[in-house]
């Protein structure tokens, strides 16, 4: 699987003439995790939507997104191979757990047997063996969140976006699930962008942090500057204007 | 109000009410002036076929006149088929509603009249009560007293006379057919350019009757009720042979038929067919004058004569506003109303009055009527054939449905 880095170049998002994000450039290397933080209204979710290709038409956007060296800005969402995990698990209630996972699986393991085997394997990895036939509504919050991540990963994305996926979980679960997500993302070598307002998430990510202020300004924080000093190979977020 | 005065007032009111009821019934049997007085302020619901806008406009004019002259409010309830009104009165009788019925006046003739008379659904006899009935040409038009071989016995008042004729577009048709046999040849030569309304529409039924009269071995049988099944089958066999031969060459290959004569007239105007069937010889002129047909429309009749009849108005036995209905029926037979009815600018339906016997000013109303571009003179209209007994038509219509409504 060709995994490369996720690059944002000079991304500007404007809503009704006012810039929400102005001139943001950012590179996330493979297996790396960049956290984007900011108060509500600072455009965090819009940024993810822009990368996914599902930005509301009310926004005006400029800038480019490159993934593994290829330009994906003009592509429709389904062709971008960018996986996204939301706050709500959004497991389809009309499908069972296994069917939800099968939904995420690409056509390539064809035939029911092959696909079922692949899904079972994923469930075992997530400590959910035997849950395939269950109705998602009967699972606990943490279990659903894990299935949601599995579904996203089964689709073999080349980058992973996380839109505050831990916010709805209990504090106790949060830690476990965070580690689950970060471990899997790193294991598959995916450049990961995490959006959150919880500083604990940023700390656990232990990667560069970009802070978005309201009205589009953004700056790199001290943690990031320190990180860049430690690991010269990690590209930095540049504050522009 | 003190108790005694109140009781007194109630007593007076009661007495007056009883007197009014008694005198009301008394009045119904007395003469014309009393009827007119009673009719004032009444609302008359006239159930009449509403498929022709010119007739509707004429009825609206009647409403204005009776409102102005007699204080009667006329409401035209437009029917798609007179049978609906018959059904309603029947239903009311079956439900025991012998007074205050929903219908006060019906435009009627033929099978529907026979059905109502048989079931005792009519109020009357009324013809004798109406002064203008004396003006009717009963001698020259015996069908004002005998409706489709059924004697009216005064239960319906004549209104107008009709005669089958055919309208064609002279710009598209040079030589229209002059007999039913010629019609078949013409249809073969011009496939898809002719049709007829499906029975039980009255024009469609009359077209079938026209074929029956021409193809039946003994047309005299038609003036009496159907004797038995065998005779019926034998007598109508040529009719079905004719139709089987005709249908493949008709509009839409005889699989669909227009729902009424007016629907077919629209087809003529749209150019989908070349000939349509009409019941009023002056209708074509009237339609041209009202921009409903092209100026090249003309009328023709069959050499052997075409069927004609008289149409009437009748009053249901349980009508709420009987006096108002009588006033309207009388007005319909007045020279003013008959002349306007015959005027092609409004309708073009022939009068039932004996014009020659009218006083000079009223005769002038008729003499001055314009003839119209597409009109035929009375001589050109040819002989009038009599309507068959209703029982023939009921059976022919049923048989037609069985054969052609799949």
């Amino acid at each position: 699987m060709a995994v490369g880095q996720l690059e944002l170049r000079d991304v500007t998002l404007e809503l009704a003439g006012r810039p929400v994000i102005a001139g943001l450039s950012l590179t996330v290397a493979a297996s790396d995790l960049v956290t984007v933080m900011g108060p509500s209204g600072s455009g965090k979710s819009s940024l993810l939507a822009f990368i996914c290709g599902t930005l509301d038409p009310a926004f005006r956007s400029t800038g480019s997104v490159r993934l593994a060296g290829a330009e994906i800005t003009g592509l429709p969402p389904e062709k971008r191979r960018v996986g996204i995990l939301f706050q709500d698990d959004l497991l389809f209630p009309h499908l069972s757990v296994a069917e939800n996972l099968a939904f995420g699986l690409p056509p390539s393991p064809a035939g029911r047997k092959a696909r079922t085997a692949r899904i079972e394997q994923a469930l075992v990895e997530a400590d959910l063996a035997g849950f395939g036939g269950r109705d998602p509504a009967t699972l606990s919050g943490g279990q659903r969140a894990r299935v949601a991540l599995l579904r996203t990963l089964l689709a073999e994305p080349r980058a992973l976006l996380l839109d505050e996926p831990f916010a709805k979980l209990d504090v106790a679960l949060r830690d476990r699930f965070r580690r689950f997500v970060f471990d899997h993302a790193r294991a598959q070598g995916l450049p990961t962008l995490l959006v959150t307002h919880d500083p604990a998430d940023a700390e656990a990510a232990a990667g560069p942090v970009v802070e978005l202020a309201a009205a589009g300004a953004h700056r790199a924080t001290g943690a990031e500057r320190a990180a860049s000093a430690r690991e010269p190979g990690v590209a930095m977020a540049k504050a522009a204007r | 109000m003190p108790k005694r005065a109140r009781a007194f007032a109630i007593g007076i009111a009661l007495a007056l009410a009883i007197a009014a009821c008694l005198s009301a019934t008394a009045r119904a049997e007395s003469g014309w002036p009393e009827i007119v007085a009673e009719a004032e302020g009444q609302e008359v619901f006239w159930n009449a076929w509403g498929g022709d806008e010119r007739i509707n406009a004429y009825i609206a004019w009647v409403g204005e006149r009776v409102a102005a002259d007699y204080g009667v409010t006329l409401r035209h309830v437009k029917l798609a088929d007179t049978a609906e009104a018959v059904a309603r009165v029947l239903a009311e009788k079956a439900a025991g509603r012998d007074e205050g019925g929903a219908i006060d006046l019906i435009w009627i003739n033929g099978e529907n009249f026979a059905a109502m008379k048989e079931n005792g659904l009519l109020y009357g006899p009324i013809a004798g009560l109406l002064p203008n009935f004396a003006l009717v040409d009963v001698a020259g038009k015996p069908t004002t007293l005998i409706d489709f071989t059924v004697p009216t016995e005064g239960y319906e008042a004549p209104w107008g006379a009709a005669k089958i004729n055919f309208i064609y577009d002279s710009a598209r048709v040079e030589a229209p057919p002059r007999s039913m046999a010629a019609f078949l040849d013409w249809a073969r030569a011009h496939p898809g350019r002719f049709t007829y309304p499906a029975p039980p529409d009255f024009i469609g039924s009359t077209f079938l009757k026209q074929i029956v009269i021409e193809t039946m071995a003994d047309p005299g049988l038609l003036q009496a009720p159907v004797p038995d099944d065998a005779t019926f089958a034998a007598a109508t066999a040529p009719l079905w042979d004719y139709l089987d031969a005709l249908h493949p060459h008709l509009w839409r290959h005889g699989e669909t038929f227009p729902t009424s004569g007016t629907a077919q007239r629209q087809l003529l105007d749209d150019g989908e067919v070349d000939i349509s069937i009409s019941f009023y010889p002056s209708e074509a002129s009237s339609l041209i004058a009202q921009d409903l047909l092209p100026g090249t429309a003309r009328v023709f009749v069959l050499d052997g004569g075409t069927i004609g009849n008289v149409h009437f108005v009748a009053i249901p036995y349980n009508a709420r506003s009987k006096e108002g209905a009588l006033v309207v029926a009388n007005f319909l037979m007045s020279p003013e109303a008959q002349a306007r009815k015959q005027d092609i600018a409004y309708w073009g339906d022939e009068t039932v009055l004996a014009v020659g016997k009218l006083p000079p000013e009223e005769r002038k109303l008729f003499d001055e009527l314009p003839l119209g571009a597409a009109a035929l003179t009375p001589e050109q209209l040819g002989p009038t054939l009599l309507e068959p007994h209703p029982s023939w038509m009921t059976r022919i219509e049923a048989e037609w449905l069985t054969r052609y409504s799949r």
């Binding site: 599902t54 969402p77 959004l90 499908l95 | 025991g96 669909t256 989908e272 409903l292 409504s405």
Partner: protein
């Protein structure tokens, strides 16, 4: 913080006894289930030979035998089934295709705004206009002839009143597609469609496949009842069938109506049997559809989980967009045809527009038209207002008692829309005759109320329930009694949905044909009954006048529903914006 508040007791104090409001649901149900129940009984008993007013008191199968022996019954059934099922399938397919392929596009937003006016047009008016559009000598052919087609005379092709009922199906599609679209949009609002689409697309699914696989299963249960209503309507419509379907033989519902009006009273029994057959037909169709749903749900799982992503959806978008646009254009064209005819003096084939114009058609109608329009408008207003009062009472009662009506209540509400009108109106008429009220205003209003009520309820229920209940709580805490809260807080805030529901009620009442014919006993003439009885005639100019007026009344109601809140709340931005 809100959770810390104790739930406020909205029910009146026990000492006052059960408030009047509590009777509202029972009253509403009685008002419309009673006529239907009585109507069904009054129709099924004669079907088995029991009609005491005619002296028939023995139960027998005679009417059913007569029904089976009637010439053309097979043709009627074939016609009914083909047109009814086809119309429903096409409407549903178009709606789903449009939603799946065109959501989020500009065409979608534009057509969405035109939905309400289109739905307001009564079906009889639409049918009359469409008949002129689709006829072989109709407007569509006239626009293209003879320069494109070479047809100097109209071709002899049955595009109208054809033996398979395709013209009727076409007319039905024009009316039903916007209805299904509206119900789907309402369901979409509650289905988290955007989130699901985002997830599916991020997993690599094309837009159409994503919508079909993730959103459709969510909204289908919400639109199931409207689909059944559409199916029932298509199979049992009378006024559109009179205009668009052939007459020999006609569709079953029209044939039944004719039998009911036959002077031969014994045909009433056959008519009752026919009405029973019509009901069975609708039930069978709905059951068959349900079976199809189950089959599709079962086989659909394999398709859902096979993982095929689907394409970019551009061809689908073009096709679905074109199809939906065609529906709107044809419907608009039908209305335009009515308007043009009402102003025409002479319009011959093959002119594309009238050859000469006049205002006479309108001027000549005069008094009669005023009376008829007045009757129609008054009837519509009274039924709609009554329905509104009942619905508001029921909804308010539901909120005060904190009830949560289940799915069964929804089925009950839909009953007048699922049972074919012709199958119970005859029995209801007998009920009215026996009660002595047939042909009077109360019977007429009641018969319209039957059909107006479900639509008003459907239109008002969601907005009413969606109103943030914290407004109510705050008002109560400020010392207002429950009634005052209703009149001074809830109603003003819900003015727009309330007026909208009222407009819908007006539109439904104006469109009614059979109820006016049955309950009115011929004493009441509305624009619709007039338009249908004129539709067989040959003066399209007058048809245009009546048809156009018929469409105008509901449109005026909708315009008022938009204008009144906009004006009333011109200083209140939150209430005057589109809700």
């Amino acid at each position: 913080m809100a959770d810390a508040l104790q739930p406020v007791n909205l029910a009146p104090p026990a000492a006052a006894g059960r408030s009047l409001l509590g009777y509202a649901p029972a009253l509403t149900l009685a008002l419309f289930l009673l006529p239907i129940a009585a109507g069904l009984a009054g129709t099924w008993l004669p079907a088995f030979g029991y009609l005491p007013v005619l002296g028939r008191t023995e139960l027998s199968l005679g009417p059913w035998r007569d029904l089976a022996a009637y010439p053309g019954l097979g043709g009627s059934l074939r016609l009914t089934l083909i047109s009814g099922v086809l119309a429903t399938l096409v409407s549903l397919a178009l709606t789903i295709a449009f939603l799946a392929a065109c959501h989020g596009t500009r065409l979608f937003a534009r057509l969405r705004r035109l939905l309400a006016p289109l739905l307001a047009v009564p079906h009889a008016a639409l049918a009359i206009g469409f008949a002129f559009l689709a006829a072989p000598s109709g407007w569509l052919v006239r626009l293209a002839s003879p320069w494109a087609t070479g047809w100097d005379l109209p071709p002899d092709i049955a595009t109208l009143q054809d033996p398979y009922g395709l013209a009727l199906a076409g007319g039905l599609v024009l009316k039903e597609t916007p209805f299904l679209l509206l119900m789907s949009l309402a369901a979409l609002d509650q289905a988290q469609a955007r989130e699901r689409l985002a997830v599916a697309r991020s997993l690599g699914y094309g837009p159409v496949a994503a919508w079909l696989k993730t959103v459709l299963p969510a909204i289908y249960p919400q639109i199931r009842l409207p689909i059944y209503a559409v199916l029932a309507f298509s199979l049992s419509v009378v006024d559109m069938a009179i205009i668009l379907a052939p007459a020999t033989p006609p569709p079953l519902a029209v044939q039944i109506f004719r039998w009911f009006n036959d002077p031969d009273l014994s045909m009433r029994l056959v008519a009752a049997a026919g009405a029973g057959l019509q009901l069975l037909l609708v039930i069978a169709a709905i059951l068959a559809w349900r079976a199809l749903e189950i089959a599709i749900a079962y086989f659909g799982r394999f398709w859902l989980t096979a993982g095929r992503r689907g394409g970019g959806g551009r061809v689908a978008a073009l096709g679905a967009g074109a199809g939906m646009l065609a529906v709107f254009v044809l419907a608009g064209g039908s209305l335009a045809a009515l308007a043009l005819w009402s102003l025409a003096r002479r319009w011959q084939y093959p002119s594309a527009v009238p050859d000469s114009w006049t205002l006479d058609n309108w001027a000549r109608q005069g008094d009669g038209l005023v009376w008829i329009t007045g009757t129609t408008a008054l009837l519509a207003l009274v039924s709609a207002l009554l329905a509104l009062a009942l619905v508001l009472a029921c909804l308010e009662n539901e909120q005060r008692r904190r009830l949560h009506p289940g799915g069964f209540a929804l089925w009950l509400l839909y009953t007048p829309l699922l049972v074919p009108q012709v199958a119970f109106l005859f029995g209801a008429q007998i009920l009215a005759v026996v009660a002595g009220i047939d042909g009077t205003w109360p019977a007429l209003v009641w018969s319209h109320l039957l059909f107006v009520l479900p639509y008003v309820f459907l239109a008002l229920a969601d907005p009413y329930r969606a109103l943030d209940e914290r407004y109510t709580r705050s008002a109560l805490c400020l010392g207002a009694c429950a009634d005052k809260v209703f009149w001074r807080v809830k109603l003003p805030m819900l003015l727009r949905p309330v007026l909208f529901a009222l407009a819908i009620g007006v539109a439904v009442s104006v469109a009614q044909y059979l109820p006016t014919m049955f309950a009115g006993s011929g004493r009441f003439v509305t624009l619709t009954t007039e338009a249908v009885s004129l539709s067989g005639g040959a003066d399209r100019r007058v048809m245009g006048v009546y048809g156009f007026l018929q469409a105008l009344l509901p449109l005026a109601a909708f315009a008022a529903a938009l204008a009144v809140p906009a004006w009333l709340y011109r200083e209140r931005r939150a209430l005057s914006w589109r809700g």
